[in-house]
Amino acid sequence: MIEIDRVTKRYGAATVVDDVSLVIPRGGVTALVGANGAGKSTLLSMIGRILHPDSGTVRVDGMDVARTQSAVLARRLSILRQENQVAVRITVRELIEFGRFPYSSGRLTGEDVAAVDRAIEYLQLEEFANRPLDRLSGGQRQRAFIAMVLAQDTGYLLLDEPLNNLDMRHAAQAMSLIRRMAEELQKTVVVVIHDINFAAYHAGRIIAMKDGRIVADGPPETVVSPSILSDVFDIDVPVHQVEGHLPSTSAPPPATAPSRRRRPQPCPARCANHPLMRAPLPASLPRHRHRPVHIKAVAGAAMIYRWGTAR
């Protein structure tokens, strides 16, 4: 259980996280959403002891993260931040091996090697495993870093925009993987995410932040509503529910859009029937449990996607 008790963080005069209290029980995916600068990443960093709060405490399994030995925490909690630049030249495998450092202190046992291999397999990095990290594309590198925290094998996983740099396919796969880790391995995942669609589809709980405070907290069905999202993002966000065929709060985009200006146009290249989305996914990927009600938020000209489930 992660307990956040009246945590505040200031940079000079600006209060980035303002007296936030929050309890995240074990298990499940929790998504932190909000506009840029809402304090999501700062809050996540404070849970992961990368930043220290000006006041308040964060406890993980009852341990105060500011006081507990960092090496002990590293076996329970891992955090992956957005910007991942590594100055030294290392290969993908060497990077992932670092995920085992809390257990092995640099001398890998057979168990560590097995964990590294599993992580490589999960993220389909076999062909890149021996390549230097700086020779990879942004998305491949991102996957390598996710593999590192996966190899770290902690009960709590804090991910700051893990879908950054990932293309559609890999973003969907990564998100499915994150959910599977929560469901099958009973991990507690807290993820900062910008894409409301992903949050609505994969998270069991969405916490919306604005100006350093929590403004909404609950299951996607309640948080992903036009009024709340409009408040959080300061922009009109019509919400459509698809697959459940429930009437949505605004008119669904018509099959043939009469007006190019106003209505978001369904994009044939990205719709569910596009060959790209129908391409068979590798066997190692999780199959989704079908959710009866699939909520989609459509902001501005955004399209309705059918992530992952497309077959």
Binding site: R81, A87, F98, G110
Partner: protein, 324 residues
Amino acid sequence: MSPKGHFAPRRACTTIAVLAAILGICVALFMTYDLKGSLDYALELRGRKVAGMAIVGFAVAYSSVLFHTATHNRILTPSLMGFDSLYILIQTLAAYFLGTTTFLLIDVRLRFGIEVVAMLAFAALLYRWLLGRGGRDVYVLVLVGIIMGTMFSSLTELVMRMIDPNEFSRLQDRLFASFSTINQDLLAVSAIAVAATTIISWPMLNRLDVVALGEEHATNLGVDHQRLVSRSLFVVAVLVSVSTALVGPVAFLGLLVANLAYQLTGTFRHRYTVPAAGLLGMIALIGGQFVLQEILEFKTRLSIIISFIGGIYFIFLLYREARK
């Protein structure tokens, strides 16, 4: 150990073995080439020289590798950051305020101890600078280093001009040690200081691998980044004090051997790069001194040759980084 997974990098091990062999040859040549006169005397003299150069070579190399990791940058060296010019400034100030007679009468070990403490204080200050607000910007670091280095040497010059000429010449004798006239009094103290800091700091090499990943990753993996960086800088301060006390400043040697070690071993792991860099440092000094003595017949100074080669290599490194 699974065969598929982690193994000791073979290339790094081979490199270290080859370097050790080369070092052996260099030492043997240096000790035995063209021996004349009293065998005992010559061997003892040369032995002390070899020991001095080995200590300096290792200290310079080790301090450079640690400094690279602590600053996340491979083209900085402790000497670029003004470490050794500070050492000279401390000596000069001591001579000015105490007078060389008093200064030289103080026991060598005590004097060395005081100097090391002063260097440690400087390291602590630099560390605050490094890790203080917004401190990890490389350009700021380089600027700070260059400015401090220049300031220390200008201050030294100023004080030297104010010193009594007789005192000055005595001070100069002390300060301008070179590889052919290694400060013998300090040899034992230095050996102990280097050995002790190395033994104490050796267990942190594995954790330094993680530090090299960056502060956030290090924290995530349970490594106290700040504490390790400050410890590394303290070790650097001791090692630089030793090498500067024995032979004076050697600007580019550390940069040269550390980067060569990274290239030759092809790994980032300190367990391999530190020994390789250390061996390279000793080879550069002992081998270089041999070539200088026997082939060039002292037409120039080793530190000049090292600075020349090191300078060229530095430009090459900058060029390579710029092209990336």
